[in-house]
């Protein structure tokens, strides 16, 4: 709007009424007054036209693009359906006991995979998960499901209680996990790698920690052992460090601080369990690929 100072003073009081005039929100008496003023005031007629133009602009091209409606409805209902599945998911402690029932500690190494956040990623390729949309997770509870496609079929990703799950279609052989977030989240993944050829493939535990906060979990590789993992991510300027504490309850503890940068694989130290040494390795990266046979629940 361009008016000189005198015009602004004269017409200023009319402007809010002109706004309501655009929306037919005036009383009858107000409308008659405004009509009378508009008949005599070119500036206000120009302002009214600008207000109408701004109104039209805001309503311009806001409709859903053609062909997207059914897809969006499918995504909405799919997500609601997945959330209902998550709510009926198995108890996690029982899941852990199933995973670690095999005797795997004879010469096992503990690998920590520390996954740095990614803004957005497409992990494509045969047997890979492609993510179409990402949403930020505010905390460790199940807040958001993400949608993607695995081999052309719809998958979902949920975050709950510090753990991340990806749900794949039922006929897929396994479920995998991944982590995405715009906020400062680090996912700590523990992989137990048995040396025995009879042992099952590596299983993965995930611990999600928010930058500046600490997260911990306890897992029981068998009935006799309890291992606590704790991690705190600290940022100082552009540097990120990870404080890691691994405790074999009743036996030994490893505490270390590591710089965190994408793509690193670092040996963090060793812990003693039943007289045997286990090496602790931290791996960092900013993406994770999923293969159906890598992860089992």
């Amino acid at each position: 709007m361009t008016m000189n100072d005198k015009e602004k003073t004269a017409c200023g009081d009319w402007l809010p009424l002109l706004s309501k005039y655009c929306d037919d929100e005036l009383t009858r008496g107000e409308r008659e007054r405004v009509d009378g003023h508009l008949a005599a005031c070119l500036n206000c007629r120009n302002v009214l036209e600008q207000f109408r133009g701004a109104s039209r602009s805001l309503a311009l091209d806001v409709s859903m693009p053609a062909g997207r409606r059914e897809r969006l409805i499918g995504l909405v209902m799919g997500r609601i359906g997945r959330e209902r599945e998550v709510r009926s998911a198995p108890d996690w402690s029982e899941w852990l006991r199933r995973i670690f029932s095999a005797p795997v500690l004879a010469t096992a190494a503990l690998l920590f995979f520390v996954m740095w956040r990614v803004e957005r990623t497409d992990i494509t390729g045969p047997g890979r998960l492609k993510i179409d949309s990402l949403m930020a997770a505010a905390d460790e509870r199940l807040l958001q499901s993400l949608s993607g496609a695995y081999g052309g079929q719809v998958a979902w990703i949920g975050i709950r209680d510090g753990d991340v799950r990806v749900g794949l279609p039922e006929d897929m052989p396994a479920e995998g996990v991944t982590v995405f977030g715009r906020d400062q989240y680090i996912r700590l993944v523990v992989e137990l790698s048995p040396a025995s050829p009879a042992a099952s493939k590596p299983d993965v535990l995930r611990l999600m920690v928010r930058e500046g906060a600490e997260a911990s979990m306890i897992y029981a590789p068998d009935d006799r052992h309890r291992i606590r993992l704790a991690c705190r991510a600290i940022r100082r300027g552009s540097e990120q460090t990870l404080e890691i504490r691994v405790t074999v309850l009743g036996q030994s503890e490893l505490k270390t601080v590591l710089p965190l940068s994408s793509g690193d694989r670092r040996k963090a130290g060793e812990i003693l369990m039943d007289g045997a040494l286990y090496s602790v390795t931290v791996m960092s990266g900013n993406s994770i690929t999923l293969a159906p046979d890598a992860l089992r629940l």
Partner: protein
């Protein structure tokens, strides 16, 4: 959809009938998308916000009192979702904003018209993002969702006078910014 039918569907949705909730979604998604799109300025984010809003609505359907229509209720949710997302969002690179403006023009437009339209859309989005969030709310509800001042006031929990003033301020600013753009173009 009349209120009685809507209430019946809400009751069924509360019992876990997803078909009923889907009908509610189908009745309201177009309007909800328009609100989300104007708020966020991109199709991609509008889709995300719509999904999130319905997800929250589904979880909270037991608390829906029926003091407004389902559509008004879920519109309130999507506005809150958009506001939360905008508050968390870091500054976006300019390239991403330009990308959001680039909807594919339909076949009846000439390429030049399509390009001008896309550019204008980007400018409108950028101008709208400059508004304070309270003015965005008023503008979106009244100018995009077609609510009356009274309805918008109820949706926002504000007085009609407050809503009217915020819309006036939004119009005044948008008129000025878009006027500057038109001068550049011409």
């Amino acid at each position: 959809m009349d209120r009685e039918t809507e209430w019946e569907l809400v009751a069924q949705a509360r019992e876990g009938e997803t078909d009923a909730f889907e009908r509610l979604v189908r009745e309201s998604i177009d309007g909800l998308y328009r609100v989300a799109y104007r708020f966020m300025g991109s199709d991609h984010e509008a889709e995300d916000m719509v999904q999130e809003a319905y997800f929250k609505a589904h979880k909270a359907i037991g608390r829906f009192q029926g003091d407004s229509s389902f559509r008004t209720w879920v519109t309130r949710i999507v506005i809150n979702v958009c506001k939360d997302h905008l508050a968390r969002r870091k500054s976006r690179p300019a390239a991403e904003l330009d990308e959001q403006a680039m909807r594919i023009p339909d076949g009846v437009e000439s390429p030049l018209d399509g390009a001008v339209r896309s550019e204008m859309r980007g400018k409108i989005n950028a101008a709208f993002q400059r508004l304070p969030v309270e003015e965005k709310e008023a503008a979106v509800l009244i100018l995009v969702d077609g609510q009356s001042y009274s309805q918008a006031a109820k949706t926002l929990g504000e007085s009609e006078g407050t809503v009217a003033w915020r819309l006036f301020e939004a119009r005044k600013k948008m008129s000025g910014w878009l006027g500057e753009y038109r001068k550049d173009v011409m």
